[in-house]
Point group: C2
Chain length 210, copies 2
């Protein structure tokens, strides 16, 4: 056994913001080329923020004010029904973006809640700055269009999976696509994402071990 004093690594590491910018720019460079001046301007529009476990990034009913890029940690977006039961719509980890897009673009009350499953560092850009960014550096709009295209494709695949795959296959597909997430998120959350009860997922897992 290790003594805590030897092994303990604090969760909350205070990376300098500049290194978060580096991460965002590394992501960006996969889609478009920015000149040094453009890159400076680009990151200047983002504000850093850290959320602690269980802290809300967005609450249903509020208006979603920014698009959020995750530098480290894990967020979840979920929908709460009047009955009280809730359904996870998205997990978002490093290099993912999240927002309630309907609320953000139409400036209507959000239907999604977004909160942190771990301590999470993000960079956020406000809608008005996003509009400005698209105007001043049009290729950034291309990047968002491409990101959105990919997100759309992924959602379409998820719809197909939900329509035609039984629970066990949906779970296996989840493991393939989001294996890393499955190891840092409680099982009940995964069940919610997959649209089944935690008890049933447990049963499914048992059956799969043969």
């Amino acid at each position: 056994m290790f003594s805590p004093s030897e092994e303990y690594v604090p969760w909350i590491v205070n990376y300098p913001v500049s290194s978060m910018h580096t991460r965002l720019l590394a992501y960006t460079s996969r889609h478009i080329d920015l000149s040094p001046a453009e890159a400076d301007y680009f990151v200047s529009l983002f504000k850093h923020r850290q959320y602690l476990k269980r802290q809300f990034v967005l609450q249903a009913g509020d208006i979603c004010r920014h698009e959020t890029f995750i530098v480290s940690g894990c967020l979840r977006a979920y929908f709460v029904e009047p009955s009280g039961s809730f359904h996870i719509v998205q997990f978002a980890v490093e290099d993912w973006w999240t927002a309630d897009l309907k609320s953000l673009w139409h400036e209507t009350p959000a239907t999604l809640n977004i909160d942190a499953l771990e301590t999470t560092d993000v960079l956020q850009i406000e809608k008005s700055n996003l509009d400005r960014l698209f105007r001043e550096i049009p290729k950034t709009e291309r990047m968002f269009r491409v990101m959105l295209t990919n997100a759309f494709i992924a959602h379409q695949q998820r719809i197909i999976d939900n329509l035609c795959k039984p629970a066990a296959e949906r779970y296996l597909a989840f493991l393939e696509r989001y294996g890393s997430i499955s190891q840092r998120v409680p099982q009940a959350q995964i069940a919610s994402y997959l649209g089944m009860t935690p008890e049933f997922l447990s049963q499914v897992r048992r059956n799969l071990m043969r």
Copy 2:
């Protein structure tokens, strides 16, 4: 009773292509303003095509070559499983766009089939022309980004509905959102879209009539 000779209206009406262009421009004007010259250039990149009932717009395995705007008629996009059963992913009627986006942008074999449920007039633009269009008239890229945002939002809502609503509610939600489609498409197709068997949908409808 009417004699056919008095009442018969041919399905296939040959609208002039220019009126189809008008329809596309009317759609476009909801999103962006184009100068007359830009509008001319814009529509010049689209080719008209008519599909007859049951004719394929895209077959799984082929590469999707264009984005398709529907001027009149109705298309469906569906996914066929190895087992032979199939699932409708999208109905597309007047003023809608359709494509297998993954196939179109990544130039990979399509997983979706798209075919006509009625005689359908479309305007199609090839990927290369879409790229050119975005380069020459950047605000068109904005339109596609906004369209995609809305499509993404709709898909997200559909995922939520599939996760949490029982069959009867999903059917009612479908009627609300796509009432016009429900009157021109056979019931079994709607069942496929909703992820249930036609027999069960029939039962659901009977139960709802009380």
